[in-house]
């Protein structure tokens, strides 16, 4: 099967959907073929996935220290009053 070539700009436009696995098979194959031959786009793909992998790790966004305790206190103070309304 012949895969039609695709430009770098077109690849960048769809790279996020490519990572999502959310493209029609023809376009996905074109992009996959492009990544095999284009070092720049391949670097962008790897880097973007790397960013997503790092932020999805769960360690990046810790709750501020004492967050839960302060929330509990606030709820304990406020909820009885809210119910009275």
């Amino acid at each position: 099967m012949t895969v039609v070539e695709i430009s770098c700009v077109h690849v960048w436009r769809e790279i996020s959907n490519y990572i999502e696995g959310d493209l029609d098979p023809v376009l996905r194959d074109r992009m996959a073929a492009h990544f095999k031959t284009c070092a720049h786009c391949s670097a962008i793909l790897d880097g973007t996935r790397n960013v997503i992998g790092l932020v999805a790790d769960g360690k990046t966004f810790d709750l501020p220290r004492g967050f839960s305790e302060r929330l509990r206190q606030r709820l304990a103070q406020s909820l009885p009053n809210l119910r009275k309304r």
Partner: protein, 307 residues
């Protein structure tokens, strides 16, 4: 024989292609009415090897469940050894996790509605991070985000009667947090964000990456490093609010596209457009550190430009 943690297991499952993963989940959760959702694989080969060094040599993977729990086994090509991770949890916990969770949550909602306000914290406890992150995604300030998160929970309590279950409870909470945060942003005249951030006009243009450096693999414990954490936070804070909102909900919190759209009051196409921009900008913002200069202590980073 070696044993894996649940986190390593999920990382490993993420390395499989769609069909293998589907087969594995089917096999593991045979008979379960609500098998757990395993998110699509996200990580590139480099990232996989970083997170789970043995995955690159795994040629076959299978699982079995028993009264003891369920286990995942795989064959390691290089070591010619069978690896087993077990038990992840008991079968009774595995079989219907989502149903059990929904019932508990629904029961809690009913009880809080009936006046047991002391159960409210238990109801919202799992969603503290999601609500805080949603508020942070709008405000990019920890103290303000915490304050808004508290307000959002109080508002959720007083509006609990209005929750009809049309979306997930977590999405509903995040919607409230996003709205509260946006109101706060509008009220706070000191804020740096102006109305241009809410515009759509500039989204039709293509984003051109500014850096084409090929990232090195990042050691698995790198994310624990203060520099990296701070760099990630800085990069996220540097995004315009409209990009930061979708990025945090989709990529940090793991909402899917539809949930992100619901929580932010946007259509899915717009979420996708903004997500693309956010991801590419994040990559550009972080590229200077990921060429290895952080790890080597060499600050002389040079951008790689193809043109």
């Amino acid at each position: 024989m070696s044993f894996l943690t649940a986190q390593q297991l999920i990382s490993m499952i993420n390395t499989l292609d769609d069909q293998s993963r589907t087969n594995l989940v089917r096999l593991l959760f045979a008979g379960a009415t609500n098998p757990p959702e395993i998110r699509p694989p996200y990580f590139g080969k480099a990232s996989i090897c970083m997170r789970f060094p043995t995955a690159q040599n795994v040629s076959s993977i299978w699982g079995h469940s028993s009264e003891k729990g369920f286990a995942i086994c795989f064959w390691h090509d290089a070591l010619k050894e069978r690896y087993v991770c077990e038990p992840i949890c008991r079968v009774s916990e595995v079989c219907m996790p989502s149903t059990a969770q929904t019932l508990t949550e629904q029961a809690l909602i009913e009880r809080v509605r009936a006046g047991k306000s002391e159960l409210f914290y238990q109801l919202i406890e799992p969603y503290q991070r999601a609500v805080f992150s949603a508020a942070y995604s709008v405000l990019a300030n920890e103290a303000d985000a915490e304050d808004v998160a508290q307000e959002a929970f109080l508002k959720a309590y007083s509006r609990l009667e209005q929750f009809r279950g049309e979306c997930k409870f977590s999405t509903w909470l995040v919607q409230i947090a996003v709205n509260e945060a946006r109101m706060r942003r509008r009220k706070d005249r000191k804020t740096l964000y102006d109305s241009i951030d809410e515009g759509y006009q500039d989204e039709s243009g293509d984003y051109f990456p500014i850096d084409f450096a090929d990232w090195r693999e990042i050691p698995s414990d790198a994310v624990e490093q203060k520099e990296l954490k701070e760099a990630l936070s800085r990069a996220i804070a540097s995004l315009k609010p409209m990009y930061r909102e979708v990025f945090i909900l989709r990529d940090v919190q793991g909402f899917n596209i539809r949930e992100t759209a619901e929580a932010l009051g946007l259509n899915e196409a717009l979420v996708r457009t903004r997500l693309l921009r956010a991801r590419l900008q994040m990559r550009d913002a972080l590229a200077p550190g990921y060429d290895g200069s952080w790890l080597s202590g060499n600050p002389s980073y040079k951008k790689v430009r193809p043109f």
